[in-house]
Amino acid sequence: MTTDAERPLLRVRDLKTHFTLKAGGLFSGTRKVLKAVDGVSFDLAPGEVLGIVGESGCGKSTVGRTLTRLEDATGGTAEFDGQEMLSLSKADFRPLRREIQMIFQDPFASLNPRLTIEQTLSEPVRIHGLETTREAIRERIARTLTQVGLDPKVMSRHPHEFSGGQRQRIGIARVMIVEPKLVIADEAVSALDVSIQAQVLNLIKDLQTESGISMLFISHDLGVVRHICDRVAVMYLGRIVETAPRATLFSAPSHPYTKLLLASIPRIRPGRVAAEDRGEPASAAAPPPGCPFHPRCGLATDICRSERPLPVDLGNGQFSACHHAGNQQGEAA
């Protein structure tokens, strides 16, 4: 048996999540397949924070929703702590729900408006049998609320009595109360105002450091990702195009799409070289053949238009799914 230090907590291989869309006329039942996630592989080490970035429709949220079994995978495997979990029945997966938790984007939609905070927070505790007596449950809720920076007295209130930032703290409390091993944060701070976003971001970072939780941090905001992640995976049209440690990704991005993304962010301090106008991504329902990025890529050659590039190891943990990645860096590993 391998030791914990060697074995990744989460090992995803060739994950595919396809959706069937009804298309066409009233009576012609033609169906289109939307390949939201189409062959995604990555490892997540214990205690690591992996960022998944990309633009809307790239499939980053679907990766998170598939790994929490909110969507059904079409193919591929995901081993959590050595156990394949995508093939488990929903019932067999339930115990794992305690270990794998999710923070949602919209703090206004993710809390049941009819339940008090105590009712919302007690649910996972009761379901997973973490405490048995009412007193113990309340005590645990109080402890968790304090942990996320809220007064335990708020537990008798309903969600509408809280601001967006406070609600997101409650959402984080619901995750932390079961002491999970893996947290998937899907745009966890995107709906918040800048000053509140910083507070919640610090809270997530603190909780992660203290508890050593592994985290999949899904976001479209590269600034946020740089702040919180150890490693970053960039997704484009259902695939990971580049993976690299944080420092490398931001200082020496390899994939042309990563470069375009970084060049497109408006900066507060002057000095950005404006990105070229490269059009918009194709629809995931009709991705271009070969490399999905080739229609927007300045380096595209014939091979890009016909053949799907595989990840190239550029050393130091950097992988780039680009036919020209090796040449560009001068030396392929």
């Binding site: 105002d193 800048v194 000053s195 910083a198 600034g223 702040h227 919180i228 962010i265 900066r267 990105a275």
Partner: protein, 329 residues
Amino acid sequence: MTQSKPPLLDVRGLSLSIATGGSLMPVVRDLSFSLNASETLGIVGESGCGKSLTSLAIMGLLEGTPVRVTGGEILFEGRDLLTLPARERRRIMGNEMSMIFQEPMTSLNPVYRIGDQIVETIREHQPMSKTAARARAVELLRMVRIPDPQGRIDSYPHQLSGGMRQRVMIAMALAGSPRLLIADEPTTALDVTVQAQILKLIADLQSETGMGIILISHDLGVIAETCDRIAVMYRGRVVESAQTRDLFARMRHPYTRGLLDSIPEPDEDVERLPTIPGRVPGLDERVDGCAFHPRCARASDICREQDPAETAFGGGHAGRCHHPLEPDA
């Protein structure tokens, strides 16, 4: 600077309130700024600071909302829009000034072709034959850099991407050749690569037409890159305003500083993000003195008692703070 010609837009002491059950809750207080042709003013602030209400007030779009103008004047080329007869005002709106919104807010009508919608907008403002209006629509689509405008004009909105739809919205806003364009979070719903394209388009259109632009956004990066001047709003007040360069070189208001510091940037590593403690007080919560004092590290007794007046820091840089930061800070 010559005084002969009035600025394109001059807002003086504008105050807005929300009418709720008989009482008036102030949401924008004593707001003043001006804008010249070919100039871009950025208004930045967090949700609830009053930046969007201000733009709606300028456009005269508050009718039917519980928000009332309770004071001040809005001078467009020297004429006060607030005292203008309704008919005259409607003529100015849409022709001489127009507005674009965050895309989902006023998306296009899904059952009509975009060409028909643009033609309708054109003919609302200028009497013109359908053929002429259609030719003008193609021209507008070309202006906003939509490839193959002849072909795209007969598309339905759902056949276009988010970025293309926003381009169509901009084309419609340009139909009356406005001298003032108000853009309220025009790229917030768009992806970052598309956002860069739309911002560049707006800047290009400005240098082609010489229109004045008010860009409203919560994103300091967007504001910093596109605007000549910036006004930072907090709870219904402009707390600091300056030329863009000036503002980022010498921030004087603690809120502006705090806002900037709390943004995680893609170009730098920060161990821990500095934050502004607390949250923006609700509209129904009364705060005496400076509205920012409950969250301000520099607050003293005077801040709790007295609302700071506007202080000029020189070079068009002004702010409302009893204890402004040192210029070198």
